[in-house]
Amino acid sequence: MQSGRRLVAYGMIALLCTAAFLGSSCTSRKESGSRVVLLTSASVTAISGGVSQPSAAISLPFHWDVEYPARSGHAEILLRFARPPASSDAKAPYMFFITRIASAYTLTLNETVIASAGVLHENGDRWSAKQPVGVTFPASLLKDENELLIKVRGDAGRRSGVAPILLGPAQEVEPLRARAYALRVGLTMAASLFSLLVASFCLLLWLQQRERLYLWACIGEVIWALVVADVVLEWTPLQWPAWGLALLMIRIVWVWALYIIIEQVFGLRPRRERFAMKVIAASVPFVIAATALMNTPLPVQVWRSVASIFMTIVMVRLFISLRSSFTVERLLLVSGIAILLLAGIHDAFSSSLFSSGFGDSVWAKYVGAVLGLTIMWIVSNRFRHARTEAAQLQASLEQRVEQKEIELRESFTRLSEAERSRAVIAERERILRDMHDGVGANLATAMRQLESGTAPASDVAATLRESLDHLKLSIDAMNLPTGDVNALLASLRYRLQPRIESAGLQVFWSVDELPTWPNSSDITMRHLQFLLLEAFSNVLQHASASSLTLGAHVADGRIELTLSDNGCGFDAGAKALRSMRERANAIGATLSVENAEPGTRVRVLL
C-alpha cells in the first residue's frame, strides 16, 4: 500500500518535470524563416553616472547589469546591416522583433525614429518593458547599408538591455512575434490566474475549516499570482527601484508562507532553522534601506543568494527526513519546492548574471504552477481527511450520547423505583400510625371492656363504632385534597353524624368557603383531622351538651376554626387535651381551649 503510493507520487513528479522541461524548451526555440535575419553585431557607447564609457564592439544580447553592475545610465547601441533579403512584394512592410528591450528606449532606423517607449531621461520611470517588442516599418526605409541606433536606459538591477534582433518581412516575423507573445504573456497570465484559482480554493476551504495550512496556502498563492503577473506588467505602480523593493517585501511573505506550509506538512522545524528563517525575513527592511542608501542592488542580490542557499539547505534536510518519515504529501511538497528552487537558480544564472540568457523566458513563473498544484492537492487531501475525521467523530459522539441516554434512562428508572418504594414506606408508616392511634387503641379498649365482663354491651358497641369511624376517616383522609379544610370538616361531620344524632346533639354548622391551607401536606391534614376528632369526641363523650356550633371563617388571612358547646366545660388536664396540643404544635397552629360558661370553646388558628 505504502510503496504503491510512493510509486504514484514519484510518477507524478517525473511527469511534472517532463512537462516543465518541454515548456521551457518551447520558449527557447527560435525559428528562422528563410528571409528573416538575426542581428547581433553591434557597437555600444554607454554613459554611466555622467561618465562616458569608450565605444566597444559587442554581440547581442546586451545586458546592462552584467556590463555595468550596480550602476544606472544610458547606452547607445549601433547596428549596421546590409539590406535584408527582399520580400516577394516590394512594398510589404518589414519588422524588427526583439524578445526584450529595457528599460526606456528609442529605435532610430537610418535617422528615422521608428519606435520609443518610456521616458529615456528619467531614471527608474514606471515603464518596465517586459513584453516582447515588434516594430513594423515601411520597406522604403531600408537602404543597401543601414544603421539602427538603439538608445536604451539602464537601471541598476532592473535587467535592462537588448536581446538579439530579428529582422524580416513583417508577414514572416509576425508569426514568430505572436508565438513569443503567447508563450511569454499568455502563459504567464494563465499561470497567474491558476495561482489565483488555487488561492480562492484554499480560501473557501479555510472559511469552512479554520486550518492554518489553508490560510497560508491561500496567502502564498495570492502573492505568487502577483509576482508572476509582474512579469508581464508594462507599467509598474511604482518607480524603480521602489517597485522592486515592494516586490521583495511581498516575496518574503511568500517565503514565510511556504515555510509555514512546510511546518504544517512536516511538523515543527528545528529551533535553529526557524531562527535562521526569522533572521532572513527580518533582515528584509535592512536590505531595502541599504539598497536605497547605497543606490545599488548589491544588498538585494546578496540577500537573495543567502535566502536561496538557506532554502536549498532546508530542502536537502527535508529530503533526508523523507527517508525516515515518508508520506506522499511530504514528497510532493518538497519536490514542488525543489523544482521551483531549481528553476529560480536557472533564472538567476541565465537571465540575471550572464548576458547570454538575456531575453530568455524565466522558468520559475511556469514551474510555480507545479507547486500550486501540489499545494492544492495537499490542501484538498487535508480537507477530505478532516471531513472524514469530523464525520467519524460525529458518529462516535452520537453513539456516546445514545449510550449516555440509555444510562440516564436506567438511572432515572432506578431513582423513580427508589422514590416509589420510599413513598410506599411513608404511606405504610402513616397507616401504621393511624392504626396505632385510632383503630388499634379502640379495639384494645373494646377487648378490655369485653374481658372485664362488667361493661354493658352498649359501651362495647360504642367503642367499636368509634373504631369504625376512625377507619372511615382514615380512608377519607387518603382522598382528601391537600389543603382543603372544607372537605376535611365535611367528612368529619358526615362520619360523626350517626353518633351526634344518637347523642341528641343539635349542630349549628357555619362553614364559609375557605381558601387552601398554605404549606399543608398529607401529614398536617391528618393531624388536623385527629385534632378536631378529639375535640368532637370530647363534646360527645364528656360535655353532656345539647348543642354544638362549628364555625370556619377567614380572619386576618388565617383560617379560624371554632368548636363551641354548651356543656359542662373542659377538663384541662385531660389526656385528650395534651394530644390536641401536640398535634397543634406539629402543624404550627394556634390552639386555645377556653371555658365559656356554659360550655367550652376550642379555637384553632391555622
Binding site: N479, N486, A487, S491, Y494, P498, W509, V511
Partner: protein, 226 residues
C-alpha cells in the same frame, strides 16, 4: 291513604350481613323481602323472570362483580332502584356504581332503623350522598367543560346553577335540612336535585361510552345513518 309496600331483593354473600339486612327489612312495615341471594348467577336468573322495587347488592361476590347486575337492571328495569352495600362508602366505589345506574349506597354498619329508612327514602325520591362524593361529582362534571364537538351531552347542561349550589353546600358539610333552609325550598326538592344529578351522571357516562365507542370505530354504521 295506604302507604305503598316496596319489594326488596337482597344480594350479599356474607351470611351474617345478609341475615342482618333481612331482619332490618322484615322489621319495617313498608318493606317486604322478595328474594335473597348469596351469588350473582342466581340473582341474575331471578331477575330474568321477576321484578322488584329495590335491589340491595354487595359488590365483591364469589361468582362475579355486583356491577354486572347493576348495569343489567339499569337498562332493563328502570323501576328498580339499586342501592350498594358498602363498608366505607368511599367515593371511588360509589361513583363507579352511580355511573352504572345505582342511586346510592348503604353502610354495612348502619343501625337497623337507618337501613330501612334509607330504602324508603330512596323510593320517596332521595339519594344518599356524602360530602366527599359531592366534591367528586363537582370535579367530574366541571372537568367536562372542554367537550368534544361530537359529545351529545354538554357539561353545562349536566349541572344547573341550583344543582351546582346544592352540591357545593353538601361538599362543605351542610345537611339537607340546612340547605333547604338556606335556599328557601323543601327538603324534598333538595333530595330530588341529588337524584336528578345521579341519573344525569349515569346517562352522561353512558353517552361517554357511546362517544368512546364511536371514536374507536365500533359505531361506524350508526354514524353513516346520521
Amino acid at each position: 291513604m295506604t302507604e305503598p309496600i316496596w319489594r326488596v331483593v337482597l344480594l350479599e354473600d356474607d351470611k351474617n350481613t345478609r341475615t342482618y339486612f333481612e331482619q332490618c327489612i322484615a322489621a319495617h312495615p313498608q318493606l317486604t323481602l322478595s328474594a335473597s341471594f348469596e351469588a350473582l348467577g342466581a340473582a341474575r336468573s331471578w331477575f330474568a323472570n321477576n321484578s322488584a322495587d329495590v335491589l340491595l347488592t354487595d359488590l365483591a361476590l364469589p361468582d362475579g362483580h355486583g356491577l354486572t347486575l347493576i348495569k343489567e337492571l339499569a337498562q332493563r328495569q328502570s323501576g328498580c332502584d339499586i342501592l350498594v352495600v358498602s363498608v366505607f362508602g368511599d367515593e371511588d366505589t360509589v361513583l363507579a356504581c352511580v355511573e352504572s345506574g345505582a342511586v346510592g349506597y348503604i353502610h354495612k354498619d348502619s343501625r337497623p332503623a337507618d337501613v330501612a329508612q334509607v330504602i324508603v327514602d330512596v323510593k320517596g325520591g332521595a339519594s344518599p350522598i356524602s360530602p366527599m362524593i359531592a366534591r367528586k361529582l363537582l370535579q367530574r362534571l366541571r372537568a367536562q367543560v372542554p367537550t368534544p364537538v361530537e359529545m351529545p351531552a354538554h357539561a353545562s347542561q349536566l349541572l344547573s346553577p341550583r344543582e351546582s349550589e346544592v352540591l357545593e353546600l353538601i361538599a362543605r358539610g351542610y345537611a339537607y335540612s340546612e340547605i333547604a333552609r338556606l335556599q328557601g325550598v323543601t327538603m324534598h326538592t333538595v333530595q330530588s336535585h341529588i337524584k336528578n344529578l345521579y341519573s344525569k351522571l349515569a346517562v352522561h357516562s353512558r353517552s361517554e361510552a357511546v362517544f368512546e365507542a364511536s371514536r374507536m370505530g365500533l359505531l361506524n354504521s350508526m354514524r353513516a345513518t346520521d
